[in-house]
């Protein structure tokens, strides 16, 4: 019976093969319960299909168009802003890198010794000195 009910539900929307059609037809002829169920489904479907015509609020298209124009303006403003930021980034980054290289070269040239601490002009401090509790007091 479960299979027949499944066939009944599908019969409204699916193209069933001849065998299934005959099977459903056969059951519909002798089962009052199935007949009643079919009638109820037909009623539900007919009520659903006669659904009322819904509409959006008046001037819906005006609202959509003004939202689109507003968003387009906003997006074009944001795009211009980000484009200018991207445009600025490259020369600033290159300039900073050149400046850094010049400063590091100058430091190395001054100390005449190639090392990282010379390049960045930070005096080398060994571990013992770095963790010496007196050092912070001296630095102060």
């Amino acid at each position: 019976m479960k299979r027949i009910r499944k066939l009944l539900f599908r019969s409204f929307d699916d193209h069933m093969n001849k065998r299934d059609q005959d099977l459903l037809k056969k059951h519909l002829t002798f089962s009052d319960e199935l007949k009643k169920e079919k009638a109820e489904l037909e009623l539900i479907r007919s009520v659903i299909s006669k659904n009322e015509e819904y509409k959006f609020k008046p001037h819906f298209s005006d609202c959509v168009m003004s939202a689109i124009k507003e968003k387009s303006y906003q997006e074009s403003y944001e795009e211009t802003f980000f484009q200018s930021l991207i445009g600025l980034f490259k020369p600033v980054a290159i300039g900073a890198m050149v400046l850094l290289i010049v400063m590091m070269s100058y430091n190395i040239f001054q100390n005449k010794k190639v090392s990282f601490s010379n390049a960045v002009a930070i005096p080398e401090i060994n571990v013992e000195v770095a963790f010496d509790p007196v050092l912070p007091l001296i630095l102060e």
């Binding site: 929307d13 109820e40 479907r45 659903i48 819904y54 509409k55 298209s61 168009m65 387009s72």
Partner: protein, 181 residues
């Protein structure tokens, strides 16, 4: 009559106002889809607006594989499902359903038909979103099962099984109302 393709071409060439033609052409169809999914509530208009804005934004990607109607309906269904999920998250769904305005039903039906219609509408709004989507497209909007599967991007078999399941649920929910007749 200007075709959809011509309107889209005009939009893409910078004439934003040409999009109004698309909005006015599909407004009522999309309203019907969204309001069948969400009920006649204020959020439906916002979802409608968002549907057309989303389509406008993706105009450059629109290749015409599906019709404008299919594309818009797909966006509308997806946004409606998102809205339903948002409602569910906020745990307001049941409250909203009871607050729904069912007084807009045309008066050319007899009282019993009107009652039945109310009950049917209420039951549809109680279906899970995935079932509600197939009921909206197949039974309310009258799309074929193939078109429904194309819009929802799911296999035909899934459409058919969801329809069968939805009808079973509707019949169960409406058993007292339809059983009386």
């Amino acid at each position: 009559m200007v075709t959809d393709e011509q309107l889209i071409k005009s939009c893409l060439s910078g004439n934003v106002e040409a999009y109004r033609g698309i909005v006015e052409r599909y407004e009522s169809r999309i309203a019907s889809v969204i309001k069948s999914m969400l009920g006649d509530c204020p959020e439906a208009d916002d979802v409608g607006q968002e549907t057309f804005i989303r389509f406008y934004k993706s105009l450059s990607k629109f290749k015409g594989d599906s019709s404008v109607n299919t594309y818009l309906t797909r966006i509308a269904i997806n946004l409606s499902i998102n809205e339903l999920k948002r409602r569910k998250r906020k745990n307001q769904r049941l409250e909203r359903i009871s607050e729904m305005n069912y007084e807009t039903i045309p008066g050319n039906y007899q009282e019993t038909d009107s009652l039945l219609r109310d009950e049917v509408n209420r039951s549809i709004l109680n279906l899970e979103p995935k079932f509600r989507a197939v009921v909206t497209l197949r039974l309310i909007e009258g799309y074929s099962t193939r078109e429904t599967s194309e819009i929802l991007k799911i296999p035909m078999g899934t459409v058919l099984s969801r329809l069968a399941r939805a009808q079973e649920k509707l019949r169960y929910m409406l058993s007292e109302v339809v059983g009386v007749r």
